[in-house]
Symmetry: C2
Subunit: 277 residues, 2 copies
């Protein structure tokens, strides 16, 4: 039995519901965030709460609780569910809008699920991606708008690829659910600076990577991407995952690179002491 | 008491719900359509059903009923609710997706509400709009993604304006929920051809307007828009409504124009015989 918190109560599976008049269902209008727990401890909770409240404010969505009350409910949920290695999703919607268009008091959902991080084999193989011309709307906001990302899944399946990287005017930005980094041939770490979601894993890497190699946040062209020594994606559920093929072109020697490996080791050591134990 | 149909049953107000795991709530992934009834008769139902099923297919969403079964449920809903002048919304979502990303069997919602068309005073005053650089994702599909349209409402309120017209590379496209037409100084009717939703009201006007004046579907620049003799919007809930100001610039003499008026009269006469009686 997994509990979900919705509008002031904990509901059993299948009983957590919103009325069909909610602005998420009527107009896809809601914000969310998603963080992991490790041994029932939320990772980087402050960062995720910052971003969640920032997203809501940017879309004029009212979260019906204070930040500390949200944190309390999160700890209650963790205790009730006891899923030590999990992902927790917070959603705040535009609410039950009388005109199906104007945001009102938001509905709030908190749900938890067990998750598994990519295993060693997945890391070694890396992922194969394609680029696609697109720019997310309001990219700094974690809205629930995944129309393009989900619509493109069909193409990915047909091509046997793992993910799609958005590109706008020849500048790379992000994956639908992850950030991108490159290691240049000169051994500099770089990640796009503009028009991307400020990923928390991205932020943590930027905090500690400077001790290993020079770090730059700046525009990166598709050409530079395809000539990079190493490329990797970062996300809450993937941590750090090598990209080994882009639009049919092999990255480096087509295997997980040494800097990517070192960054993942550092990430786990610094950010997740005692992970999984 | 207004009934809503959701997943095989008619539910009372407040009891029509979806589980929070639905892909509309998780990822804003759903399609919809919206048509009017006049004296409990659906207007242009075939056109709206065509578009609804087309939208669903384009997003790989499975509507769990045949087209004729959907029509049957619509007539049952109309009978139960008896709201002679109404709007009926059909929604098909990405369903209860186990991975919160891949569309599965869709959830289906049918809801009805009384609506009022713009009155004569509203028509005479027309509406004041601004342009905004934006291009809707997958514009031929009526998805529930209204992130940009709703987000821009705040700016509209602050400026005291009625609506926003999307413009991409200096070419006008559409309003968030309506199409646009212009009457050129040479008395030709024109409406954007590309990257817009194929509005049903737009379609009906294109069908009969040729008897009144030459008709063109083609690209229209912002400059041509602002120099038009008349401008109007078309939508299911607005029918035809004059645009009298664009980015602070008056259209024509700032009042409802003669061709716009004639087109509305024709639309009502040809398309809605006995309207409201």
């Amino acid at each position: 039995m997994t509990w979900t918190f919705v509008n002031d109560t904990f509901a059993e599976e299948g009983k957590a519901t919103l009325q069909t008049g909610d602005l998420a269902i009527q107009r896809g209008y809601a914000v969310f965030d998603f963080f992991r727990t490790n041994n029932n401890v939320p990772l980087f909770l402050d960062d995720y709460l910052d971003r969640f409240f920032h997203s809501a404010a940017a879309l004029f969505i009212t979260i019906p609780y204070t930040r500390s009350r949200v944190a309390e409910i999160i700890f209650e949920l963790i205790q009730k569910n006891n899923l030590p290695q999990s992902g927790i999703r917070m959603i705040a919607t535009g609410g039950y809008s009388p005109d199906s268009y104007t945001p009102v008091q938001g509905n709030f959902i908190l749900q938890q699920q067990a998750i598994q991080l990519p295993d060693a084999a997945r890391f070694e193989a890396g992922i194969r991606i394609m680029t696609h011309p697109y720019q997310r709307d309001l990219p700094a906001v974690k809205s629930i708008n995944y129309l393009m990302g989900i619509w493109l899944q069909k193409q990915l399946q047909e091509k046997g690829l793992d993910d799609v990287l958005y590109v706008h005017n020849d500048i790379i930005s992000e994956f639908p659910r992850a950030n991108i980094f490159i290691i240049t041939p000169e051994r500099t770490l770089a990640t796009p600076a503009h028009h991307v979601l400020a990923g928390i894993t991205r932020k943590k890497i930027l905090e500690f990577a400077g001790a290993l190699l020079p770090v730059e946040t700046r525009d990166i062209s598709v050409r530079e991407l395809k000539n990079a020594a190493e490329v990797f994606m970062t996300s809450t559920t993937k941590r750090i995952l090598p990209v080994t093929e882009i639009d049919g072109i092999r990255v480096g020697n087509g295997k997980a690179g040494p800097f990517t490996r070192q960054l993942l080791e550092q990430f786990i050591r610094l950010q997740e002491p005692g992970y999984g134990t």
